[in-house]
């Protein structure tokens, strides 16, 4: 049942992603409307699948890679639908939906056995995962905003007044979206890391065991801290902020890949 729900959601996300990408270069608002309707359907099915997935097995705690990714993807689409409702910014679909699609796809293509399940030794370890995922959603939106910013900036600089520049939102809107997403994502990730450290202390007896993905996570966190401070103190905004958040998100993806490939277990030395 869960598989069927996720599979149909995947098909719908894939189609709407394609439609949104075509919409980016076409002058048809109908395309966007169809894509949005399709996304909403996919989201509903996704929600059903997610609920079924979460209540199955260990209860609603997010402690497997698959659940975390399904939740990440779901939250991204939720944010997308919210932004579309609020700002009528359909073009965001062409950027945010591919991410949501890929995240959900990873739950289908990565075999469950290859990713170790986080041991639910400590009851509240799922809080660590949930918060980290939510923080990551914030960074993903910031990344997409940054990407769109760079595109619009390039188009304006090269005086290309085409369909794309017509569809992309104004620069300051994208910069504000970038800033807000980081402002939301950063505290969530901070809390996620703190709860993770506490869990590690209880489970393994040390807050930090210096394994690569932990180090990466800390580096990424520090990077975003610097980005945020830089914006406030020395004006790292606009184009610079856009580039920085793109780099930062690459760090986030690497951390995720690290967890995916190596697992999230106790350090080798223990």
């Amino acid at each position: 049942m869960v598989t069927v729900a996720f599979a149909s959601a995947l098909v719908c996300y894939f189609s709407s992603t394609l439609l949104f990408l075509i919409y980016l270069l076409r002058r048809s608002e109908t395309l966007a409307r169809i894509a949005l309707a399709l996304t909403s359907v996919a989201f509903a099915v996704h929600t059903v699948g997610l609920v079924l997935h979460l209540v199955a097995g260990e209860g609603i705690r997010l402690i497997s890679f698959h659940k975390a990714m399904a939740f990440f993807s779901w939250t991204l689409v939720l944010v997308f639908l919210g932004v579309v409702l609020r700002y009528r910014l359909h073009v965001l679909g062409a950027f945010l939906l591919p991410l949501a699609f890929l995240a959900l796809l990873s739950t289908a293509v990565v075999p469950t056995s290859s990713v170790p399940v986080l041991q639910p030794v400590f009851q509240t370890v799922w809080i660590h995962v949930t918060l980290s995922v939510l923080g990551t959603v914030g960074f993903a939106v910031a990344f997409v905003a940054g990407l769109m910013y760079i595109m619009q900036d390039r188009l304006l600089k090269s005086k290309q007044f085409n369909v794309l520049s017509f569809k992309l939102p104004p620069l300051d809107f994208l910069d504000a979206l970038n800033q807000r997403s980081i402002l939301l994502g950063f505290p969530l990730l901070t809390l996620g890391i703190l709860t993770g450290a506490v869990s590690a202390q209880i489970t393994w007896g040390s807050y930090l065991s210096w394994n690569p993905e932990q180090v990466w996570a800390l580096i990424t966190w520090a990077f975003y801290l610097i980005v945020l401070m830089g914006r406030i103190t020395v004006g790292w905004r606009a184009k610079k902020a856009a580039y920085l958040t793109i780099v930062g998100f690459a760090g986030v993806v690497l951390t995720f890949l690290g967890i995916l490939l190596k697992g999230h277990g106790p350090p080798a030395s223990l």
Partner: protein
């Protein structure tokens, strides 16, 4: 019934003449009343904008309608003579009049094709005609259709989407950088016309403040007054550049006034907030090297021209689509008008036959007063049957031709064969005489249904005459003896 349009626009008349013809809104009611008081003018609407004054009317005959409306226009201004006015007028009737109204409402006839105000002005004109009761069935339909056509053009084409003037293009491009102009500061450097126009557009879009500088100190204050802006001394303006979100530059200087370093410094002082620069001066006043500065967006006159040329080309393409929409809708409208036109003739024909039958029965009754009611019924049936059978072919032809092209010929033929025009005129005459209180004529004016009335009461069954049409007979107990 014919739709006609007479007027003048920016294409045919100078502004002085257009001003003369414009009727102030307080006197529109009186003017509209005067318009429909002309004989043959049934409905009327007056469309006035700064670019056009037009009369749309529904008239009985095109020629007399034209001259009536022309007289009306000449009378609107005491100092106007027909000779002054005539060369500037255009005259449209029927399909062309309808098409003209649709094109005007859709902004295809505007000075700037696609401008949005005209639709509101057409709505106002229609509202005034409604308020003053000079718009009837046909004009209502026509005006409503014009409004819906304009909306269709607006939604189905992109005719009004993009800027087609340099000054407006500046605003449009600024909106690619700033989502909301309300909190922005505009720095106007120089007193060039185009930059001032652009500044005006930015003010309409609600910018927060305007800084003004020119080389000429006295002029600065004048301009600051005009735009309610803050004057900045010319030799200090580079230092104040950081305050500006939008820089509009248009001076007569022959060298660069703003260099790369000025903008680099301004962007730094703005903590990397984007700065948007428009240079409409020729020769240019802003060093093109500014383009390389991050978060600074410089557009010169050629960039703006390029932008609006794209928009213009798009508008031309869209206007073609819009013309097609107008054409389709005019056809729909014409069909409706045509179906409307056949009906009065059918009604008039039936009425005429009914009256003839009644007249002849009346004569027969005065000669054959002694007949029984069965015999009378037989005679009445005989008369009805002859009338119906004779009319049947003509009525079917008229009805079936309601959508066809030869419809006009059929109507014309029916009107001539049965002398409908003369008969209607006579009816109208009798009707007005009756209305004037000439009671002695009442009997003679039995066929008193005026054409205007018969148009409303379309279905009068011929084979079953209404009871009041029946002829009173001596032994008819239900009807009083007319003698």
């Amino acid at each position: 019934m014919h739709a006609i349009a007479i007027g003048l626009s920016h294409k045919t008349a100078p502004v002085e003449l257009r001003e003369m013809l414009a009727v102030p809104e307080s006197r529109i009611g009186e003017a509209l009343g005067r318009l429909v008081a002309y004989p043959g003018v049934r409905e009327g609407m007056l469309l006035q904008t700064c670019n056009r004054v037009e009369v749309y009317a529904i008239v009985e005959h095109v020629e007399s309608g034209f001259s009536a409306v022309q007289d009306f226009l000449v009378e609107t201004h005491f100092s106007l003579s027909a000779e002054q006015l005539l060369p500037h007028l255009y005259w449209y009737a029927g399909e062309r009049a309808i098409s003209h109204l649709f094109r005007v409402a859709s902004s295809l006839d505007s000075m700037v094709v696609g401008e949005p105000q005209i639709l509101g002005q057409v709505k106002d004109a229609f509202r005034l005609a409604l308020t003053h009761n000079t718009s009837g069935v046909i004009l209502n339909k026509l005006a409503k259709k014009a409004i819906s056509v304009a909306k269709r053009v607006r939604t189905e084409t992109r005719i009004a989407e993009n800027a087609v003037s340099v000054s407006y293009a500046a605003v449009e491009l600024a909106k690619k950088v700033f989502s909301n102009l309300a909190q922005k500061t505009v720095f106007l450097i120089g007193a060039g016309e185009m930059a001032k126009l652009a500044a005006q557009h930015f003010i309409t879009h609600g910018v927060r403040q305007i800084l003004v500088t020119t080389r000429d100190g006295a002029r600065v204050r004048k301009m600051a007054d005009r735009f309610k802006g803050i004057p900045v001394p010319f030799d200090e303006f580079r230092g104040e550049l950081y305050q500006a979100d939008i820089v509009l530059c248009s001076t007569g200087a022959s060298h660069f006034l703003i260099h790369r370093e000025d903008v680099v410094r301004a962007v730094r002082e703005r903590m990397n907030r984007p700065i948007f620069l428009i240079d409409v001066s020729v020769p240019r006043n802003i060093d093109p090297a500014v383009r390389e500065v991050d978060n600074a967006f410089l557009f010169d006159i050629d960039d703006l021209e390029m932008h609006i040329e794209q928009n213009r080309e798009e508008r031309r393409q869209e206007a073609l689509k819009a013309e097609q929409i107008v054409k389709e809708e005019v056809e729909v409208m014409i069909k409706w008008l045509q179906s409307l036109e056949a009906t009065p003739t059918i009604v008039a024909l039936r009425e005429r036959a009914q009256r003839i039958k009644e007249g002849e029965l009346q004569k027969a009754w005065s000669r054959l007063g002694h007949l029984s009611s069965q015999e009378w019924a037989a005679i009445e049936n005989l008369a009805s049957a002859i009338v119906n059978k004779l009319l049947h072919g003509s009525l079917v032809a008229l009805k079936s031709a309601a959508q066809a092209e030869e419809r006009a010929f059929y109507i014309e033929a029916a009107r001539r064969f049965y002398h409908l025009d003369e008969w209607e005129k006579e009816c109208r005459l009798n009707h007005s005489r009756m209305a004037a209180g000439n009671q002695s004529d009442q009997h003679a004016s039995r066929p008193a249904a005026s054409p205007a009335h018969s148009r409303q009461s379309i279905e009068v069954p011929v084979n079953v005459p209404p009871s009041h049409h029946r002829i009173a007979r001596p032994d008819d107990e239900q009807t009083a003896d007319p003698a």
